[in-house]
């Protein structure tokens, strides 16, 4: 049993099929994990959003609206919450996407391409890895100390 006042260290995972109706399942799962972790309440909605954006991108671009499976692994300890998202869709490296010019987005009527920007805004680390024949792996980390990444 975790002593009073000490945030739990834990690992949990979830598998969902690549269907947008499952986004609410993903959000509920991350919400439960975030509540159990030491993540401040003020950051919770943002971390849920970052994961939603990552999973939405996989559903839309990785699996292109087709069938597929997405696995989420949440690892939390007193210093960080890390969410690893695994899929077998088309590889997609977020590092290759530049931050948007929002004024230009509006002028051009562009509706997409904002998810990665949000992930970078919210999380302290966004890292991607891909190996041929193996799954895509996107890792999102939020540090829990007052200094964020410097904690």
């Amino acid at each position: 049993m975790t002593p009073m006042g000490t945030p739990a260290s834990f690992r949990r995972d979830l598998r969902v099929t690549s269907e947008t109706k499952n986004l609410s399942v993903v959000r509920d799962f991350v919400s439960e994990c975030a509540t159990r972790s030491a993540l401040p309440r003020t950051e919770m909605n943002k971390v849920i959003l970052a994961v939603d954006e990552a999973v939405s991108n996989i559903m839309r671009h990785g699996y292109r609206g087709g069938p597929g499976e997405i696995e989420l692994v949440v690892e939390a300890d007193p210093k960080r919450i890390a969410i690893t998202i695994l899929d077998s869709g088309t590889k997609f490296d977020p590092d290759r996407v530049q931050d948007p010019d929002m004024g230009e987005h509006i002028r051009q009527g562009r509706k997409s391409g904002l998810g990665i920007f949000l992930m970078r805004q919210i999380m302290d680390e966004v890292s991607y890895s891909f190996r041929e024949g193996v799954r895509n792996q996107l890792r999102l980390v939020k540090y829990l100390g007052p200094g964020g990444a410097e904690a």
Binding site: T20, S24, L49, D52, R107, G109, K111, F117
Partner: protein, 115 residues
Amino acid sequence: MPKFQITTQKVGNNVTLVNVQGFLDAHTFEEMETTITGLFNEKQFRLVVDLSKVDYISSAGAGVFIGAIGTAQENRGSIILMKPTANVKEVFDLLGLSQLFQFADDVDSAIKIFQ
């Protein structure tokens, strides 16, 4: 999960109030997009979107308004966002959209923005 619902009503001065309820995400944004496209087809370009019952929005949801506001403005209208919840407003802030959209606290003040 709250059911996603959209209703529209004319509120005067050629303004249409769009009431939205539920989660506006990659699962529901197309319904929002279809509603706005339908209003544009009816030459309704002055839209007030009541976000007070939207518990959650992702970039897919915000993208509907980003994609549509230009068309509204080109036709002497706009999209005014009314009473976003704190969670929703935070997403607009993160996207840098709070300076690019106008917000209103109630229908009357939203209508006045169009005058």
